[in-house]
Amino acid sequence: MQLKNPSNIAKALALASCALVGQSAQVQASEEKLDDWKVDAAIMYYGEEDRVQAVEAIGNVQKAFGDESLLDMKLVVDSLTGASASGAVAQAETQTFTRPSGDGQYQTAPGETPLDDTFHDTRVQASANWAETLSPVWKTNVGVNGSKEFDYFSMGLNAGIERSFNKDNTTLVLSGAYTFDTIDPVGGKPVAFSAMAVRGDYNTEEEYRTAFDLTRVEGTEDKKTMDMMLSITQVLSRRWVFQANYGLSSISGYMTDPYKILSQVDDTGTSQGYLYENRPDSRLKHSFYMMTKGALDAGVVDFSYRYSTDDWDLNSHTLETHYRYYFSGRFYGQVHLRYYQQQAANFYRPFLMADEPLPEYASADYRIGDMSSYTLGLKFGQRLSGGHEMSYRLEYYQQNPENNGTELVGQLQDQDLFPAVKAIMAQVSYSF
C-alpha cells in the first residue's frame, strides 16, 4: 500500500490520536462515574449473656453530583429477641408476672433477676441527606429519616449550615433536628403506678380481664424531640485536628417505658406487688463533647470525652479512644476502648416501700440508674483491589449497675439487685 501524500498521514494520525484520546476520556469518565458512588454495608450481631440478642444490617450509599452536591442514603434493618430486665427485684421465692399484652404469664425462679422474655421486635429505618456546597466557605445540608418497629413509629427532619474560616482550618457548624415519635404499647398504655393484675389473684378469667383492663389506657402516645448542636472543628497542626461540640436536646411527651415495673416490698424485703413505672414528660439535655484525632506515620489515633447532663439529674462521663495501626499498606488492626459512667436520674428507685407514699415519678430501669460500663474492641481491615475494603470487628461490652445509695431491706440484702450485663458484638463490613 502506498500513501498518497503526507497530508493524509497527518490526517490519519490526528484521527487516530483523537480516537485514543476519546477512548481514554471515556475510560476516565466511567471511572469517575464509579467513583461518584460509595457503598458501605455491614452486618452486626449483638448478644447479651442470657438476655437480648440482635442482628442488624446496615447499608449506606453516597452519590456525588459534581463537586457541589452529595446525596447520602441509609437503610437499617434490625431484629431483636430475648429477655430484658423488667425492673422487679429478685426474691427468695418464685415470682409470677403478667405479660405486657395481658395474655399469659411468666415466672422467675428464686434468686433470679426478673426478665421479661417476650421481648422481640423488628425495626426498619431509612434516612436520606442532601449536602450542598454553596460557596468556598459555606455548606449546607438537609435530611429526613423515619423508622418503624412493631410498637413505635418515628419521623424526623434535620438541617445544618457550615462556615469555614482561616483557610479552611476552622469550621463552625450549626445543626438542628426535629423528631416526632408515636408509641403504641402492646396491650395498651399502662396507667401510671397501677398495680399489675396477676391471673392467680382472681377466680375467673373475666374478673382478671376486668382488673387488667383497669390498668390500661387505649390509644397511642407521642414524643417530640428538638435537637440543636453547635460544633467547631480546628486544624491544630499538619497531623492533628480538634473538634468541640455543644448539644442541646429538648424532649416532651411520653418517656415512660410501658414494659417496665417496680416491686413494692414490705420491711422484710418481700414483694407485695408490682407497679407500672412513671417518668416525667419533659427532659432537657446538654452535652459537651471534645475529640482530637491524629495522623500517625503508620496509623491513626483519636481520643474523645463527653459530659452529659440533664434536668433528670442524670449526668454521665464518657472516655473513648481508637488506635489504628497499618501492618502494611493493605492491612490494619485497630483497638477500641470506651469507659462510661453515669449517675442515676433523680426518680430512679430500685424498688418502692409498700408503707411509704408513692413518689411523683419512679422507675427501676437500671439503664437510668447508677452505672459504669466499658467496651474493649478489636478490628481488622483489609484493602482489596479496586478500592474495596473488608473489615471485621469484635467487641466486648460490660455494664456494671450500682446501688444509688438505697438501703436494702430484709431479704433484698441477700439478692443480687444490680447484676452485671455482659455482651459481645461481632461485625463484618464491606465498602466499595
Binding site: 458501605d40 454495608a41 455491614a42 442488624e56 446496615i58 425495626r123 418497629e149 410498637d151 413505635y152 418515628s154 424526623g156 434535620n158 474560616f165 482561616n166 483557610k167 479552611d168 482550618n169 476552622t170 445543626s175 438542628g176 423528631t179 415519635d181 408509641i183 414524643k223 424531640t225 435537637d227 448542636m229 467547631i232 480546628q234 486544624v235 491544630l236 497542626s237 499538619r238 497531623r239 485536628v241 461540640n245 448539644g247 436536646s249 424532649i251 439535655k285 452535652s287 463533647y289 475529640m291 484525632k293 491513626v300 474523645s304 452529659s308 440533664d310 442524670l314 454521665s316 462510661y340 453515669q342 439503664r367 437510668i368 440508674g369 452505672m371 450485663v421 458484638m425 461485625q427 463490613s429
Partner: protein
C-alpha cells in the same frame, strides 16, 4: 465574675484559632481518608444505637435524635 472570665477565655481561644492551622499545601496528612471525622461511619452508627438503647445518655458526637423505642 466567673462568667466574665469564661467569656474572655472563650474569646481568646476563638481568636487564637485564627492563627492556628496550616497552609493548604500542608494538608496531605489531614486529607487522608482515615482522618475524616466520620471515616468509620457505620461503626459509629451501630455503636450509637447500642449505647443509646443501653445507657441513660446519648449523643454528643452528632445529633442525638431518637427514633427507636429501645430506651
Amino acid at each position: 465574675m466567673n462568667r466574665t472570665i469564661i467569656a474572655i477565655a472563650i474569646a481568646i481561644s476563638l481568636s487564637a484559632c485564627s492563627s492556628l492551622g496550616v497552609e493548604p499545601w500542608e494538608k496531605n496528612q489531614l486529607a487522608r481518608a482515615d482522618m475524616a471525622l466520620d471515616s468509620e461511619k457505620l461503626d459509629l452508627a451501630l455503636d450509637d444505637h447500642i449505647y443509646f438503647s443501653k445507657e441513660g445518655s446519648s449523643g454528643g458526637r452528632s445529633l442525638a435524635g431518637g427514633g427507636c423505642g429501645c430506651n
